[in-house]
């Protein structure tokens, strides 16, 4: 793995599977009486949130605390940012506090990249969502959730529906799922597909009903009203009729297919309330898996002297053989 996690495009297949496998082991911690590991004792993780968030911030905080890291939460509201402090000066302040990792959410695409490459801070930067660009840990937890229900993602058909234009979740998912070998179909009205979507791995469609019967998982995206500066569709009601997941469309899915949503949901808009609460929806599980995934990311970035190197093996057995001298032997043999 690289030092920073800015985009799922930076993850090789081995890296991605290492994160998922590590999360799987860490998830077992939840069954223990003491849900804490001493691994990151003495390391400081700063949650730097310039944009509102519930799930992501809480789950990064829980993840860091379960690994015994010190956590500093920083939200733009109530900080010097409200007085006009720049990103650079904020970063220099964090560096002075000795942050080993900075988890950053920002409304501007590329802000985490700027933090990582500017030389302002020495720690690892984890992108927790930047503008309409990427949200890598969300994609990782989505892939983890899908893998738990569907097994290996190779050849699986994943349908991502809705406001792709404003969705950082969609972009990160498309890149990660392509790395993992899944076939992604993006479904949205033409106005809500970004320019250049032809160059993304996977396909696009304007017709949800045509795609549903062959989907192994369908991921509904939130219609991001707060980012919409123009009229992208005639009315909420029309959007919901054509692209919303209701009970009727749920019936068109194969029996094993799962329904996902990165949250927060607009019930009745992109997803009907009864669908969101049905037993094929794994939306609450996605949130729970978020903690395991973020623990895995923090451990792999901060746990050693440098970020983890993914071994050439991908399964459980080869991972067991993948440490210590044997790993070096494998490197030599390659």
């Amino acid at each position: 793995m690289k030092k920073h996690l800015l985009s799922t495009a930076d993850l090789s297949r081995d890296d991605a599977i290492l994160v998922l496998d590590t999360a799987e082991e860490l998830a077992r911690l939840a069954d223990r009486p003491i849900k804490k590991l001493p691994t990151l004792r003495g390391r400081t993780v700063v949650n730097l949130f310039f944009e509102d968030s519930t799930r992501t911030r809480i789950s990064f905080e829980a993840a860091a605390k379960r690994l015994s890291a010190d956590v500093i939460n920083f939200t733009a509201k109530g900080s010097s940012v409200a007085k006009g402090e720049s990103l650079k000066d904020t970063a220099l302040t964090l560096e002075a506090m000795g942050a080993d990792a900075v988890v950053v959410r920002h409304s501007a695409s590329g802000a985490p990249h700027r933090l990582a490459t500017s030389g302002w801070i020495n720690g690892s930067v984890v992108n927790a969502g930047d503008g309409t660009h990427e949200h890598p840990t969300q994609a990782l937890l989505d892939a983890y959730t899908m893998r738990r229900h569907l097994g290996s993602l190779g050849g699986r058909r994943i349908t991502i529906v809705g406001d792709v234009l404003h969705s950082r979740v969609a972009r990160s998912n498309v890149l990660l799922l392509a790395t993992l070998g899944a076939e992604v179909t993006l479904v949205a009205p033409p106005t809500l597909l970004p320019v250049g979507v032809e160059g993304w791995p996977g396909e696009t469609s304007y017709d949800l009903d045509a795609v549903l019967p062959t989907s192994d998982a369908v991921m509904m995206l939130r219609v991001q009203r707060e980012r919409m500066t123009a009229a992208y569709f005639p009315s909420a009601r029309e959007y919901s009729r054509r692209y919303g997941l209701d009970r009727h469309r749920l019936g068109a899915l194969p029996p094993h297919a799962i329904v996902m949503h990165p949250g927060p949901m607009n019930r009745g808009m992109e997803i009907a309330a009864e669908v969101a609460d049905c037993d094929r929806a794994v939306i609450v599980e996605q949130v729970a898996n978020g903690v395991s995934i973020r623990m895995a990311v923090l451990y792999l970035l901060l746990g050693g002297s440098e970020p983890a190197a993914a071994s050439s093996g991908t399964g459980y057995a080869s991972r067991q053989a993948g440490d210590g001298v044997e790993f070096e032997a494998a490197e030599v043999a390659r």
Binding site: R32, T39, G304, G313, Q320, G322, G324, V325, A329, A330
Partner: protein, 248 residues
């Protein structure tokens, strides 16, 4: 007696096995019944990794040692009641299950066996890149009030066992903890001692001990190699899990 094995014996070729190890590391136990006597034979296929290696323990030896340990565990604890065997991955886990089978043969009762990954509790995590985790499987009965026997392949610095004790502490409160190892190679760095030892193996720090188990390596055997890979100096050695990395 100590005739060098001809290079044409097949294993000297170049393809790595399914675990990605270079072949010479896995071949030290050959079918040669004289292998234990032929203690200074040369392992030519990996000139950089190991110059000489000798097998000190073959498959029947391992079987006998485990049988004895199983009896000793039963003797010490007056039967199999309240016992839980926890192996330290990778090879300790296989040994724990073998011991459970042996105990079942003697006592007729199955002793719960599981495995305990200690990676997150190691004191040397920051000396090398973050490592992938192995699985922790605690038997359904739990460890509270039980006698936990930790099982590992090689006891070396004692740091792995210390990490295991810490890990165990977060899982429950056993009535007692005992330690069984297949090989004790000495050079302890912590005040830790094994209760059950398959074989005491005096070694030099420049040597490495490789335990091979059928479940993981395709054959049983313990080999000492005078390996001097790049990182075998003192720092590199303690940076590894003695029972795992450095022991190989």
């Amino acid at each position: 007696m100590s005739a060098p094995i001809p290079q044409s014996e097949g294993f000297a070729g170049g393809t790595p096995d399914k675990y990605g190890r270079s072949p010479t590391r896995a071949v030290a136990a050959t079918s040669d019944s004289d292998a234990r006597v032929a203690s200074r034979r040369t392992d030519r296929a990996a000139p950089a990794a190991s110059d000489e290696s000798r097998e000190v323990f073959d498959a029947p030896d391992i079987g006998r040692a485990l049988t004895r340990i199983a009896h000793e565990i039963l003797e010490r604890n007056k039967g199999a009641g309240g016992l839980v065997l926890l192996g330290i991955p990778t090879r300790g886990a296989y040994l724990a299950h073998r011991l459970a089978t042996k105990i079942a043969q003697v006592e007729g009762a199955m002793v719960p066996a599981g495995q305990l990954d200690v990676t997150m509790y190691r004191d040397d995590l920051r000396l090398r890149p973050a490592r992938s985790l192995a699985r922790t499987e605690i038997p359904r009965e739990g460890v509270d009030g039980k006698v936990v026997v930790l099982v590992d392949d090689v006891l070396f610095s004692g740091r792995t066992v210390r990490a295991a004790l810490d890990a165990l502490n977060d899982i429950g409160r056993p009535r007692a903890v005992q330690l069984a190892v297949l090989v004790d190679r000495g050079h302890r760095e912590l005040p830790i001692r094994a209760d059950f030892v398959g074989k005491n193996l005096p070694t030099a720090l420049t040597e490495t001990v490789h335990v091979r188990l059928t479940e993981h390596d395709g054959l049983d055997g313990v080999v000492i190699a005078r390996a001097v890979p790049a990182d075998t100096e003192r720092d590199g050695r303690t940076a590894e899990k003695p029972g795992e990395g450095a022991a190989r």
